[in-house]
């Protein structure tokens, strides 16, 4: 009898919830019972509320059990879960779970399905089809396909990828570089991490195609130091891809070369900003550069450089494989394709939701996410990381689309959605926005460096009831100064969360007893 195939993710969150122990325990029991099993350590499907998720391969497809703890293993075996037996933790076919079924997975098509480091698994699931197509096109045609797709950068600024690529293609330099921004510093985000841990070859493939498109032969992935598992997978994947001829010289049997190196950051949020990232890659302090010159013209070591986010680059292979038009048929307005959203914070069903642009925040948080984890009413949703606004209930109907978010002074950013319930202390959140800016500012400009410290002091005065009206005005002025006087979005957008709290949760900034006083 063939061994029974089980899937238990080797993903940071799955392991953080106990997947390694579950894997060990299942293997032990199977051995005791003399049952032959084969365990694949896949990436996570992104249903983090069910992690550790154990899947059993059946003739109908994979059947899901989760969240599984070590204490459940005896009863799972008793229920004959290895033959898809009934159990309170059973969810039926994984693909039929509404959280997954209702998504549109393009960039994440393989994530959680394949074994991350298996090249044959990758190829059996459409891997390297984009590269194959790319090798039949000239550079300009490749750039044109990316333009046609309408893909905009997924790192936060949403700049059209095709236009950036065109600039690098047209720029002259002794060497050109492809730099992948894997700094993923925004709280509430983990889509880059999931790609790197679950499907590292798709990122490699995207970077090779980018190299072909602009004539670059050297690539770097700048990965944050907070992601050790991603580093481990990428290191292995780069070596295996080199050995198989997908990196190095004569890629895929062609005359093209592309070398890829992984570099690790060192715990600085600002190094996610592309010019600070380049400084860091050059071995310097991560100080933001003034633009112009654009990195596309004078980037790494002064040479033309594409800096793109992990998701941007990981989306390139499917665009090449299926065509620019296919991708651009998803989405709304000027936001084309899909966005991998990440449901985080106080949420019942947290995880990754890839959807075409256009669904509302409310659908995302209450249909996919099923509301708060605490079961208390949700109060605020911070979208787009630490520089994004806190949105009150009246804004939850906003469609997920870059322009709709700009219209309400908010950002989609990298797609992080952090839910807070009614117990959240919004004054503390406003203070933290300033505190984070103080910790992470590169220090180049005064409004950001000094303004954030002043911001903390002023918020403390307001919450202590010291001359609240005057200090609220001071805070408003300080925010304006930071917005206009900062070189980059660190100082320039830190006011967004603060201003949103002043506007929609203003009474929470005042001392808790001040309302009572006003009534008297």
């Amino acid at each position: 009898m063939a061994a029974i195939k089980l899937y238990i993710p080797d993903d940071t969150t799955a392991v953080a919830m106990g997947a390694d122990d579950v894997c060990q325990a299942i293997s032990n029991v199977a051995k005791q019972k003399d049952i032959e099993i084969e365990v694949v350590r896949n990436g996570s499907r992104g249903l983090f509320y069910l992690e550790p998720l154990v899947e059993v391969a059946t003739s109908q497809g994979r059947v899901a059990y989760g969240p599984v703890t070590v204490d459940d293993i005896e009863s799972l075996f008793a229920a004959d879960f290895i033959h898809a037996g009934k159990h309170p933790l059973a969810h039926g076919l994984t693909e039929e779970i509404p959280f997954l079924k209702n998504q549109q997975r393009l960039t994440f098509a393989r994530v959680g399905i394949t074994e991350p480091l298996s090249l044959s698994d990758y190829q059996q699931h459409d891997g390297f089809k984009g590269l194959q197509k790319a090798l039949t096109h000239c550079s300009q045609e490749l750039v044109d396909i990316v333009k046609e797709s309408g893909l905009r950068g997924r790192g936060g600024a949403a700049f059209p990828a095709g236009i950036k690529w065109q600039t690098v293609l047209d720029a002259r330099g002794s060497e050109k570089y492809i730099v992948c921004n894997a700094d993923e510093g925004d709280s509430g985000t983990f889509s880059d991490r999931m790609i790197m841990e679950a499907d590292p070859y798709v990122l490699i493939e995207g970077m090779v195609i980018a190299g072909l498109a602009v004539g670059a032969e050297q690539g770097y992935i700048y990965l944050r130091s907070e992601y050790p598992k991603a580093a481990e997978k990428l290191t292995a994947a780069i070596t295996l891809a080199e050995q198989a001829g997908f990196l190095g010289n004569n890629i895929g049997g062609s005359n093209n070369s592309f070398t890829l190196e992984l570099r690790i950051g060192a715990g600085a949020y600002i190094c996610g900003e592309e010019t600070a990232l380049l400084e860091s890659l050059e071995g310097k302090r991560g100080m933001v550069r003034a633009k112009p010159p654009l990195p596309a013209i004078e980037g790494l070591f002064g040479q033309p450089t594409i800096v793109n986010n992990v998701i941007t680059l990981a989306t390139i292979p499917i665009i090449l494989a299926k065509g620019g038009q296919y991708y651009q048929d998803f989405g709304m307005g000027r936001s084309r394709g899909t966005l991998p959203m990440q449901l985080a914070g106080n949420i019942k069903q947290g995880g990754l939701v890839e959807l075409a642009f256009g669904c509302t925040l409310e659908q995302l948080v209450f249909e996919f996410g099923q509301g708060t984890y605490s079961a208390k009413p949700a109060k605020a949703i911070q979208v787009g990381g630490p520089l994004g606004a806190y949105l009150p209930k009246q804004q939850w109907q906003t469609p997920l689309d870059y322009e709709s978010f700009t219209a309400i002074s908010a950002v989609l950013g990298h797609g992080g959605v952090v839910v807070f319930d009614e117990t959240a202390d919004m004054a503390a959140q406003a203070r933290f926005a300033m505190e984070f800016c103080k910790v992470e500012s590169c220090g180049k400009c005064t409004p950001c460096r000094i303004g954030s410290t002043r911001g903390i002091e002023v918020i403390d005065k307001i919450t202590n009831g010291q001359d609240s009206d005057a200090n609220l005005q001071l805070l408003a002025d300080l925010c304006d100064t930071m917005v206009v006087g900062s070189l980059c979005a660190m100082g320039g957008m830190t006011p967004f969360p603060v201003q949103s709290i002043m506007q929609y949760f203003g009474e929470e900034l005042l001392p808790k007893d001040s309302l009572a006083k006003e009534v008297l």
Binding site: T12, V15, R285, G286, G350, F436
Partner: protein, 163 residues
């Protein structure tokens, strides 16, 4: 290991030799030194500076810019507590206080027996199962006082086994 003995010096020299030709070699060199010695000894700075043709002040400037690099020895177990928003939404402020009280440490401090160090971190990418902490290369989700006690137990037992 506070002294910069011959062995440590040799490690540093080897690392520099291995990495110096890389374009933008400084961060890879610093990472390797810290991964090998646990921190970047001040004596290493002069060696790096001369190998990379930079001033000691420049090297020092880079080290001090990045939160990750340490110039003093850290404890056997570095506990990093996530302070960012998704964890805040799940009670990380209380968790942070609990961890500080339990270890009797503030951030950037080591316990007297050099077993534990406490560091803040801003997001570990485990935001759907917050609050999160990290020890060595492992992240722990849905952390609370009870789970933290179990974790400390496990870490201290492990140390005893080693000795």
């Amino acid at each position: 290991m506070t002294e910069f003995n011959q062995q440590a010096k040799q490690h540093v020299a080897d690392i520099i030799e291995q990495k110096r030709q890389l374009p933008g070699a400084l961060l890879p060199v610093l990472h390797d030194i810290q991964n090998t010695l646990g921190f970047i000894p001040p004596q290493a700075i002069a060696l790096i500076a001369s190998a990379l043709n930079q001033t000691e002040a420049e090297i020092h400037g880079v080290i001090s810019f990045y939160h990750h690099f340490k110039t003093r020895p850290v404890g056997a177990h570095v506990i990093e507590v996530c302070r960012a928003e998704a964890c805040q939404a799940m009670g990380s402020r209380e968790l942070e206080q609990h961890v500080k009280n339990t270890l009797n440490l503030d951030y950037h401090q080591n316990t007297k027996d050099q077993q534990f160090s406490l560091e803040p971190v801003y997001c570990l990418g485990n935001c759907a199962c917050a609050p999160s902490i990290r020890v060595a290369d492992k992240v722990y989700g849905r952390m609370n006082a009870e789970k933290f006690a179990q974790l400390l137990d496990k870490l201290t037992t492990y140390v005893v086994e080693l000795n």
